[in-house]
Symmetry: C2
Subunit: 309 residues, 2 copies
């Protein structure tokens, strides 16, 4: 997790821009251009997503440390969309951004090894080691226990990557299972404890391990409680903005040095132009940058400086 934290401190900005480019969010002029070239096809849609992402990355890469493409919004456009995901990851990395693929992958050990190679590692092809998607981090679901996490830990260690396991998700029904009690602890606390223990051998210079946790800003009390109980677990915090969480909610995710978490905004940044007076869709990238700066300042207002070691 050190590479991500270094970058957060360098830019004094603990936010990650979610790249969830469903076509509804992509400006008409980009879509028209791509449909003219490729038709109203999966290929045309994928070309539009990629162009949208490239312009967003260009507008954000010097002020936002990380992007989080959500796999679902690429799979929705078939393998052509998944190609756009791959190209988005490469482009964001070429611009120095840390890339968290939000795939919430989960499976038994041998299969999880394949996901680990797919998203964070390399694949053996007739003796050549080839990178498939090559992100810096991947979100995962720990429902299957440690078998499904161990293959990722090896790659986190050998290639300086990280994972974020779902602990307490931001959606309204997350409590149906996650808030239920096992002995005296909730399911999400149990999962949080697992993250601490999975990460134990991967702690970096800031004290945080390579095994982070997803904890929603929409449940600030739980965020506060988990921050206290999981001192070595870095948090990925969704739910800011469109889902209803604010800086006052997200602040509980941070430690006394102003680190310990990264807060996501997807629609808030991607669709910022829609909330600006007199903005047109052609201003989408500039508006995204303005919103990202506003969000950075909003968070810094309550957290203060992110302190280097």
């Amino acid at each position: 997790m050190d590479r991500l934290i270094d970058k957060i401190i360098e830019l004094q900005n603990p936010t990650v821009a979610g790249l969830d480019p469903k076509l509804d969010f992509v400006p008409e002029y980009i879509k028209e251009e791509c449909f003219k070239k490729y038709g109203k096809t999966l290929e045309g849609a994928a070309a539009a997503l990629l162009e949208f992402n490239i312009q967003l990355i260009d507008a954000l890469c010097d002020i936002v440390p990380a992007v989080k493409p959500q796999a679902a919004y690429y799979e929705m456009y078939g393998w052509q969309g998944v190609r756009a995901l791959s190209e988005t990851i490469s482009y964001a990395k070429s611009k120095g951004m840390y890339v968290i693929t939000d795939g919430k992958r989960n499976d038994i050990g041998t299969t999880m090894e394949a996901y680990a190679k797919a998203h964070l590692g390399t694949t053996d092809i007739g003796g050549e080691e080839v990178e498939a998607f090559g992100a810096d981090a991947l979100t995962v679901n720990g429902y299957l226990g440690s078998d499904g996490i161990n293959p990722l830990l090896d790659i986190c260690k050998s290639r300086d990557k990280s994972i974020f396991a779902l602990v307490k998700t931001s959606n309204p029904s997350s409590g149906e299972l996650q808030d239920r009690k096992i002995d005296s602890k909730t399911v999400y606390e149990t999962m949080g404890d697992m993250c601490e223990s999975w990460g134990e051998s991967t702690r970096g210079k800031y004290g945080y391990s390579a095994v982070g946790a997803v904890v929603g800003a929409t449940y600030p009390e739980m965020l506060r409680e988990l921050r206290e109980k999981l001192p070595h677990t870095f948090f990925l915090v969704p739910g800011y903005g469109a889902q209803g969480g604010g800086a006052e909610d997200a602040k509980f995710a941070f430690d006394k040095n102003g680190i310990g978490a990264i807060v996501n905004s997807s629609r808030g940044i991607m669709c910022a132009w829609k909330k600006e007076q007199n903005a047109t869709e052609r201003d989408f990238a500039a508006a995204a940058r303005r919103e990202a700066l506003r969000m950075r300042d909003d968070l810094r207002g309550v957290i203060g400086d992110m302190k280097a070691l």
Copy 2:
């Protein structure tokens, strides 16, 4: 789930062939051909997977009702691998097979809607409805509660599709979370109850809903217990063969009419030639067929006939 059960009864075979084509499993002669054409690249690997799958599907389609491609083994080969997944799904459907994409997808509501469109539904592209992957069923993880399941139910109803939610997985560490007790019930029982309730409005002519459950053959006692408690939930049963489960274990998944479940074998079928005396890799498809027939007879030996209505 009716379409799947009809097909199982027609072929008197409750098995699904897992298509998890990591390159190690693909015969050398196929790889050599593809590497010659495309190099030792993701493209070359993907071409080899597809050729392997096509030959397996040709050898199995008149005796096995369904295939289950595991997404991880395609993502491992980049977007090119995901294209091979897409082409595998189309080919299997063209041969009349029911296709279960094993992706164990999970997310919040809006994002799950994107996964639902991606794998089971259609995507709107400038007013055109286009199928992205077009499988018949998708495996999912219910950790996020009903928000993450509801978008799938709509598509299950409108397009006659199904999902399988993880309940008790086949791996050794599955108990770390799944066997823990919430009040007097384990996490897996709680998840099983959720499946019954999610599926309630989607029951078909056999009494089974569109919301199935994944329950491993490696835990036969739990399989027996869940079969009793979840009378409307169809089971997808991994763990037969390479993972150690046998027909005597899997039989608990079935009801008195010999239906209620489909048992998966991946490596057992794909790599059957390795266990046959005097077989070479060129016999892989014929050996897969022989193993599939053996497995069918093995299961029928303990379950008996699958009875039509």
